[in-house]
């Protein structure tokens, strides 16, 4: 187990190098001079010499491999550099924003599970019935709705028309409701569909027939015997969703003006702020790897046949 963990964690190094290199290259392949972008719409009056001066003070006049080499060398020492735009240390910026995204992600995952699993179970239990059709129709809608649109719609209803919740920003638990629900609804639909199909597959197996034959109630068979085995693909989907939610946060955070990592990343990309883009991507990649690892470890807990020795 220890060795397995070590192996998995050591995979982080190539992943980190890979994602930052890809981020670095794409950012520099994309047209747009970071110095000009930095000066912005109000800074177009800057002369060539002034632009050159700013470029050299920011260290952007070095050849690209040198710039990337510098980044890796400093990152290995725990220094992710400073944002070109604000001058703040990237690590501080990322760590300060990460909890906001984490809170929304966890809350929306909670909502997704609370809706998705019962809906999936009900659908599977009453397969072919009106309940099943209704739940799956809703799930289809949930998957198809653009987060952006759903967010604005919820905002119009709950903030403007009813006045129950604040429309955007961050402050109290009330501010969390709309972004979490918006993100959670889409995932809940996927989880419901996965739960249903996985459960149906398990329900057709011999040991379920045996359990029924022993005279156990349908409820116990469904929830204790079937659901537990059906959980493995669901956990996989949930793990992937968690990663997806981190990414989905980009749109939700923009709509709801939530101060998380997603907005940090988008802003950094627009302003060609390479150190900040690399920092957020690095953080997200690490989170992704760790989530996947956690999912794999969960398998072993759910299914005693799976061992990592």
């Amino acid at each position: 187990m220890g060795r397995y963990l070590f192996q998995r964690l050591s995979l982080l190094v190539p992943v980190m190098l890979g994602v930052t290199l890809v981020a670095f290259i794409t950012l520099h392949l994309a047209p747009g001079d970071p110095v000009r972008v930095l000066l912005g719409e109000l800074g177009q009056g800057a002369s060539q010499e002034e632009i050159a001066r700013l470029r050299s003070t920011l260290g952007l006049d070095a050849p690209l491999p040198v710039q990337y080499g510098r980044f890796v060398w400093r990152a290995a020492q725990g220094d992710l550099g400073r944002s070109l735009r604000t001058g703040a240390p990237v690590l501080d910026e990322v760590l300060a924003r990460a909890p906001f995204t984490l809170v929304v992600t966890v809350a929306s995952l909670g909502i997704a599970l609370a809706i998705g699993i019962p809906a999936g179970v009900l659908s599977a239990a009453y397969r072919g019935s009106a309940v099943d059709h209704a739940a799956m129709l809703l799930a289809l809608m949930g998957v198809s709705l653009p987060v952006f649109w759903l967010g604005l719609l919820l905002m119009l209803v709950f903030a403007l028309a009813l006045g129950w919740l604040p429309a955007s920003g961050f402050g109290t638990w009330k501010h969390l409701v709309l972004p979490a629900v918006t993100l959670g609804l889409a995932s809940s639909a996927l989880i419901a569909r996965m739960t249903r199909s996985s459960l149906l597959e398990v329900l057709g197996q011999d040991y379920i027939r045996t359990a029924r034959a022993k005279g156990l109630s349908g409820r116990i068979v469904l929830l204790r015997h079937a659901l537990r085995s059906a959980l493995i693909p669901i956990v996989t989907v949930v793990g992937l969703q968690l990663g997806g939610l981190l990414g989905g946060a980009v749109l939700t955070e923009t709509v709801f003006a939530w101060p998380g990592l997603g907005r940090l990343a988008v802003g950094a990309i627009y302003s060609r702020d390479a150190p900040l883009v690399q920092g957020t991507i690095l953080f997200t990649a690490i989170a992704f790897v760790l989530i996947n690892l956690a999912v794999d470890l969960l398998y072993a807990m759910l299914d005693p046949r799976i061992r990592y020795d």
Binding site: A30, P31, G32, D33, P34, R36, V37, L39, G40, E41, L42, G43, Q44, G45, A46, S47, Q48, E50, R53, L54, T57, R85, T86, G87, L91, E93, L95, A96, R97, A98, P99, F100, V103, L152, M155, L156, A159, L160, G163, P166, A167, S168, G169, F170, G171, T172, W173, H175, L176, T254, V255, F256, A257, P259, G260, R263, L264, G267, Y270, S271
Partner: protein, 507 residues
């Protein structure tokens, strides 16, 4: 790292579960005004930034020596000024002013600010605003002299730019590089706190030299989505939003709880040409485009009248703008005749490069439709701002859409940048080169007599409009919407100049 994240999480949980308000300490007695801005400020040190949101906040906390109003240049931290020789201006400073940290405001503080701004070590983002300044000298406690490297007439206007705000020398000494997050100025509001990408809070400066403002707190919230800003305004989450999409203005105007303000701005929107490349290297072709675009219709249908028609490169609020320019009248026959004279055959596919914005998309569509009757199949390329800039630098376009703000409100700022041959290819993206215009622009920035400068700039604009390196479309209005209980707000010439000194609130 984990420890820091956990600490962040704890803070967050405390805030989320905390008692109602945002957990930023006891609110000061009196009213709060919450303002939405499109993105977060980047730095609150006037020397370390050059973007709208940062200047919006800086303008509440800091002050410049002079301000520009509809009446012209007016005193702010300087009370009077006079030229001494042809490269030096002397300023008398307001007495009895203190920075928020108690440091007295005086000639030494002004000298310190200017020297820090022009010092290469400072990496000033808006360095171009004072790049002509040689240095500043404290003559007496309330007298300071600023010298330029060459005679530069627009210096006074440049000293209205928010990047030239006077900063507290003591606070800079105390905070060092962290001054970007601990701004200390002389303005009507004092900095209180900054939660990145969520809010910047300022409180009333009770010792403000102009008398304390009525409102107790100002909160500026970055809200990127304009639809979200509108819902926040209508539901009372924020009190003031800027630059609403043209489509929503009429609806907001019908809302009895809101007031919409539309004021002239210092900006102008143009379509520029690549003058070194066919077909627009021929002035007749450029003029033909000018005659083919029905700007009045564009303003009414696409911009919902939130702009006025342009006749030249400068909005009428800018010093030196020429109100008598003829502009280009809509006249399709004339346009066709000009093209025929130039020997241009139909079927050309010029690229029009614009940056992503709802407004420019519409304008580009209108241009596309207008030029169709001339036989041009305009290919509109919509790119994001960074890409747009580099396309312009590298000359990868035949036409480009651009908005330019004359931030200093003096003709020199725009005309020199956009039309002096030394500024090609950037920001003179059209690659316009005219020895006569060069001569006028050089003369205009060097002489002090404002009356003569005005004549010079009028002449230069006449030549520019004749040569048509761009066609000048419109001067956008600066719009903002406020909850109706809030009065006496102004935003002269741009949203970044929002003034809340005299604002009052009745809920």
């Amino acid at each position: 790292m984990i420890r820091r994240m956990l600490a962040g999480l704890v803070v967050l949980l405390v805030l989320v579960t905390g008692s109602g308000r945002s957990g930023l300490g006891a609110p000061a007695p009196g009213e709060t005004i919450t303002v939405a801005m499109q993105s977060d400020a980047t730095a609150l040190d006037p020397h370390r930034t050059n973007d709208g949101p940062s200047f919006l906040v800086i303008n509440q906390i800091f002050e410049t020596l002079l301000v520009r109003t509809a009446r012209g240049l007016e005193p702010r931290l300087a009370t009077s000024w006079r030229p001494v020789g042809d490269r030096t201006w002397e300023f008398k400073l307001r007495r009895g002013v203190k920075f928020h940290d108690g440091t007295p405001f005086n000639a030494e503080a002004v000298r310190f600010s200017i020297d820090r701004f022009i010092n290469p070590q400072s990496r000033a983002r808006a360095y171009f605003v004072l790049s002509m300044v040689e240095g500043a000298k404290a003559i007496a406690d309330d007298t300071v002299q600023i010298t330029t490297r060459f005679p530069f007439a627009a210096l006074l206007n440049h000293l209205t730019h928010p990047s030239t705000s006077v900063i507290s020398p003591t606070a800079v000494g105390r905070f060092g590089a962290d001054f970007v997050r601990n701004p200390v100025g002389t303005g009507p509001f004092k900095f209180d706190s900054w939660v990145a990408r969520d809010r910047i809070t300022m409180v009333r400066n009770d010792d403000y030299w102009g008398g304390p403002p009525q409102i107790a707190r100002v909160i500026m919230r970055p809200i990127p989505e304009s639809s979200t800003q509108i819902v926040e305004l209508e539901s009372g989450g924020v009190d003031l939003i800027f630059n609403m999409p043209a489509d929503s203005v009429a609806r907001l105007e019908r809302n009895p709880r809101l007031v919409v303000y539309k004021e002239p701005s210092f900006s102008a929107n143009y379509i520029g040409f690549h003058m070194e490349r066919a077909p627009f290297n021929d002035v007749r072709v450029r003029r033909a485009v000018g005659h083919a675009v029905r700007v009045a219709g564009l303003i009414t249908f696409f911009l919902k009248d939130l702009a006025t028609q342009a006749n030249g490169p400068l909005s009428p609020v800018v010093f030196g703008a020429n109100p008598d320019l003829p502009g280009y009248e809509y006249d399709l026959d004339r346009a066709r005749a000009l093209l025929a004279e130039a020997g241009v055959r139909p079927g050309l596919r010029p690229r029009l490069v614009i940056f992503e914005s709802a407004e420019w998309r519409r304008v580009a569509q209108a241009i596309q439709a207008s030029l169709q009757p001339l036989g041009f199949q305009v290919e509109v390329e919509v790119v994001e701002f960074g890409t747009w800039l580099s396309r312009l630098d590298r000359g990868e376009f035949e036409m480009y859409g651009m908005r330019w703000g004359t931030v200093t409100l003096d003709a020199d700022y725009t005309l020199y940048s956009l039309f002096h041959s030394s500024q090609a290819p950037n920001p003179n993206y059209s690659r316009y080169k005219s020895p006569e215009v060069d001569r006028l622009l050089d003369e205009g920035r060097a002489i002090a007599d404002q009356g003569r400068r005005e004549q010079i700039y009028r002449r230069a604009q006449t030549l520019i409009v004749r040569d048509a390196p761009m066609i000048f479309l419109y001067y956008p209005l600066s719009t903002y919407a406020v909850r109706s209980g809030i009065q006496h707000t102004t935003a002269p010439f741009s949203w970044i100049n929002l003034e809340l000194r005299k604002a009052t609130v009745q809920r």
